[in-house]
C-alpha cells in the first residue's frame, strides 16, 4: 500500500520517540529516580506504531506490562507519562499507577496491565461497546506470545469471532516470555495460525517491518469497521533488552540470536528505506529529528522532576468514583 513520505517520517518520529523515551526511562530507573520496574519496548516499535498509525483517535487499544510504546504510539503525552514513572502528582494516574498502569482514556488508551493476558478480555468489552454504539469504532488488543498461552486469549477470540466484534488482536511474538522460549511454550510456532480455529483471518507479518505491520492493521481495521469481525495479527519481533531494566534481571537468550535481531532493527530499516530508496530523509534531517525528540524527552524529565509528589492524604482518594 502507498504511504506518503510525510506519513512515513511521522511514523519514524513516533518510533524514535518511543526509543528515546525508553532509553531515558531505563537510565533514570537505574539511577533510582523511577521506582518499581521498567519493561522497555525497544526493538518492537514498528508493531505499536504500525498498528496505531492505522487507527483513529476514537479507536481504542489496550496494552501489556511493556506498555510505554503503545501509549506513545496512540498519542499519549510523554510529559504525563514521565511524571507517572517519577511517581508525581501530575502523572497520568496521579502517581498511583506507575509504569505498568499508564492509561489515557481520552485517546482510547485503556491501560497497560501488570497481568499477562489481563487486558485481552477488557478490550474485548470495549469492542462489544463499539459494536453496540454502532459508530464504526474498533478496538485493538496488544499482547505477547506469553499471553497467547493463557485462557483469556482463547475466551476472548472465541467470543469476538462468534459475535463479529470489531476487534484486532495483535500478538507481539518476541520469542521469549521472560526467560521461557516460545519454542518450549507454544504448541505451534505461529500464534497467527490459531486464527483458523476461530474462523477469522490470521495474518503473520515481520513485526520489524513497519509497512507490513501497517498494511495488516489497515486491512484488519477496514474489515472490523465493515462489521466483518476480528482479525488476529501476529508480529514476529524481538526485544533488544532483557525482560526488565533491573540490573540483576537474568537474560538467558543466546547472544547470537540477539545479534541477529539487532541487525533487523525496525528504526534502522525505516531510516534506510527513507534515505536510500526514497531519498526522503537526509542525514541532517534525521539528526535534527532525533535532536528534537531528545529535547522532548529531556523536557518530559524536567516536567516530572519539577512536579510535586502526591501528598500522603491522596492515598485514600479515588478508591471509588
Amino acid at each position: 500500500m502507498e504511504i506518503s513520505p510525510e506519513k512515513q517520517r511521522e511514523m519514524l518520529r513516533t518510533m524514535q520517540r518511543i526509543r528515546r523515551f525508553e532509553e531515558r526511562a531505563s537510565d533514570d530507573y537505574v539511577a533510582g529516580d523511577i521506582y518499581g520496574t521498567v519493561h522497555c519496548y525497544i526493538g518492537e516499535e514498528a508493531v505499536a506504531v504500525g498498528v496505531c498509525s492505522a487507527l483513529d483517535n476514537d479507536d481504542q487499544i489496550i496494552s501489556t506490562h511493556r506498555g510505554h510504546g503503545h501509549c506513545i504510539a496512540k498519542g499519549a503525552d510523554i510529559n504525563l507519562m514521565m511524571a507517572e514513572l517519577y511517581g508525581r502528582e501530575t502523572g497520568y494516574c496521579k502517581g498511583k499507577g506507575g509504569s505498568m498502569h499508564i492509561a489515557d482514556f481520552s485517546i482510547g488508551m485503556l491501560g497497560a496491565n501488570g497481568i499477562v493476558a489481563g487486558g485481552i478480555s477488557i478490550i474485548t468489552g470495549a469492542g462489544l461497546a463499539a459494536q453496540l454504539d454502532g459508530k464504526g469504532r474498533v478496538a485493538v488488543s496488544f499482547f505477547g506470545d506469553g499471553a497467547s498461552g493463557a485462557g483469556p486469549f482463547h475466551e476472548s477470540l472465541n467470543i469476538a469471532a462468534a459475535w463479529k466484534l470489531p476487534m484486532i488482536y495483535v500478538c507481539e511474538n518476541n520469542l521469549w516470555a521472560v526467560n521461557t522460549a516460545a519454542e518450549n511454550a507454544l504448541s505451534i510456532p505461529d500464534v497467527g495460525s490459531r486464527a483458523s480455529s476461530y474462523g477469522i483471518p490470521g495474518i503473520i507479518v515481520d513485526g520489524n517491518d513497519i509497512f507490513a505491520v501497517h498494511e495488516a492493521a489497515h486491512n484488519a481495521v477496514e474489515r472490523a469497521r465493515r462489521g466483518d469481525g476480528p482479525t488476529l495479527i501476529e508480529c514476529k519481533t524481538y526485544r533488544h533488552r532483557r525482560h526488565t531494566e533491573r540490573p540483576t534481571q537474568p537474560d538467558v537468550r543466546p547472544q547470537k540470536e540477539i545479534d541477529e535481531w539487532l541487525k533487523k532493527d525496525p528504526i534502522d530499516r525505516l531510516v534506510q528505506h527513507l534515505q536510500q530508496q526514497q531519498g526522503q530523509l537526509s542525514t541532517e534531517e534525521w539528526k535534527q529529528m532525533d535532536d528534537e525528540i531528545l529535547r522532548e524527552v529531556e523536557e518530559s524529565v524536567n516536567f516530572a522532576k519539577n512536579s510535586p509528589f502526591p501528598g500522603a492524604e491522596k492515598a485514600t482518594e479515588d478508591v471509588f468514583a
Binding site: Y92, I122, G125, L128, D133, N158, D318
Partner: protein
C-alpha cells in the same frame, strides 16, 4: 401491596433499569428470557461459558461509556474470573488515578441449604470485602432486592450483588413504582432493647424467628440487617450495641476472617461502643468446613434460629 418473589424482584429491577438507561446491557451464560423478550439479543447476550472473559468485558465496556450487568449466576463461577475481579475491576479506578468510571453490576447467588454440596453452597463475601474498590449488596427481602439492585446499577463503581439462594422463592411486598435504597444504610428489621443481632441474608429471617421465640421468654432482641457490606453502616450497628450492650452476629459463612469478624471488630474497636458491652461478642456462623451434601450434615454445619436463640440466652445468662 402486591407480593412477588425475591427472584422476581431482582428481574423487575433489571427490566426497569434497562428500560431507563439504554447504556445498560446484560451478559450471562444463560440469557434471562424476560430480558431477551423485552430488549432483544443485542443487549441481552447468552455467552460462552467464559466468566473470566465476561467479567473483563464488563470492565472494558464500562470504561467505554456503558453500564454492563454481568450475571455470574452462582458465586462459584466468579472464582474462575478472579484475575479480572481482583487484579482489574477492584483496582482499575484507583490505579488509573480516577480518570474514568467503571459502573458494572456483577450478580451471583450465594449460600447453601439446597443440597448442592461444597462448590455451590458458598458465601465468600468477605474475600471480596477484603479488596478495596468493590461495593457489595446482600439483600434479604424482595423489597430490598429490587431497591438495592436499582441503586447498584446506577452506581458508578463495580458492585457485586450477593443474592441468597434460599430466599429466591420468598414472597414479599414490592412496590410497582420506581424506588431505590441507598448503599450503606442498614435496616433495623425489629427493634429491641436487650441484645443486638446483626444478621446477614437468609439469617435475617432466622434471627427474626429467634427474636420471636425469645420474646416469649422475656428477652427483647433487636435485629439489624446491614443490607450492604461495602459500604457497611457502622453507625447503626454501633448505636444499637450502645443501647443493648450485647452483640450476636449471625452469618451463613464460616467465621474465619468473615463479615462477622469485621462486624465484631467495628464494635470492639470503637471505644464508645466497647464501653457499653456487658458481655463478649458472640458469632453464630457456619462451621469452618466445606459445605457437605447429605442433609443431616449440611444442617449441622449452618447456623439457624435455635443456634441464634441459644447464643442470645448465653449472653443474657439464661442458657
Amino acid at each position: 401491596m402486591r407480593q412477588i418473589s425475591y427472584a422476581e424482584a431482582g428481574m423487575e429491577a433489571l427490566l426497569e433499569e434497562m428500560e431507563r438507561d439504554p447504556k445498560t446491557f446484560h451478559l450471562s451464560t444463560d440469557a434471562p428470557v424476560p430480558l431477551v423478550e423485552k430488549f432483544g439479543h443485542s443487549r441481552v447476550r447468552g455467552t460462552p461459558i467464559a466468566e473470566g472473559a465476561l467479567t473483563g468485558m464488563g470492565i472494558g465496556a464500562a470504561g467505554s461509556g456503558f453500564r454492563p450487568i454481568i450475571d455470574w449466576r452462582m458465586i462459584t463461577f466468579s472464582f474462575v474470573a478472579m484475575d479480572q475481579i481482583v487484579n482489574q475491576a477492584s483496582k482499575i479506578h484507583y490505579m488509573f488515578g480516577g480518570q474514568t468510571k467503571f459502573p458494572i453490576l456483577y450478580r451471583a447467588t450465594v449460600g447453601g441449604g439446597v443440597r448442592m454440596a461444597a462448590q455451590h453452597s458458598q458465601s465468600p463475601y468477605s474475600m471480596f470485602m477484603n479488596l478495596a474498590g468493590l461495593k457489595m449488596i446482600l439483600p434479604s427481602t424482595p423489597y430490598d432486592t429490587k431497591g438495592l439492585l436499582k441503586t447498584a446499577i446506577r452506581d458508578d463503581n463495580p458492585v457485586i450483588s450477593f443474592e441468597s439462594t434460599r430466599l429466591l422463592t420468598m414472597q414479599g411486598p414490592v412496590p410497582e413504582e420506581d424506588y431505590t435504597i441507598p448503599l450503606g444504610v442498614a435496616d433495623i428489621k425489629k427493634e429491641g432493647k436487650d441484645v443486638t443481632i446483626v444478621a446477614l441474608a437468609w439469617l435475617v429471617h432466622e434471627a427474626l424467628e429467634a427474636a420471636a421465640i425469645l420474646e416469649a421468654e422475656g428477652i427483647s432482641a433487636e435485629v439489624i440487617d446491614p443490607r450492604t457490606l461495602v459500604p457497611l453502616d457502622k453507625e447503626t450497628i454501633r448505636s444499637s450495641v450502645q443501647k443493648t450492650g450485647r452483640l450476636i452476629v449471625a452469618d451463613e459463612a464460616g467465621p474465619t476472617c468473615g463479615a462477622s469478624a469485621e462486624i465484631a471488630a467495628l464494635v470492639t474497636e470503637d471505644e464508645a461502643t466497647f464501653k457499653c458491652l456487658k458481655k463478649a461478642v458472640k458469632r453464630v456462623c457456619a462451621l469452618q468446613v466445606p459445605i457437605p451434601y447429605s442433609p443431616p450434615l449440611e444442617d449441622a454445619v449452618f447456623p439457624n434460629r435455635e443456634k441464634i436463640a441459644n447464643a442470645v440466652r448465653q449472653v443474657m445468662n439464661k442458657a
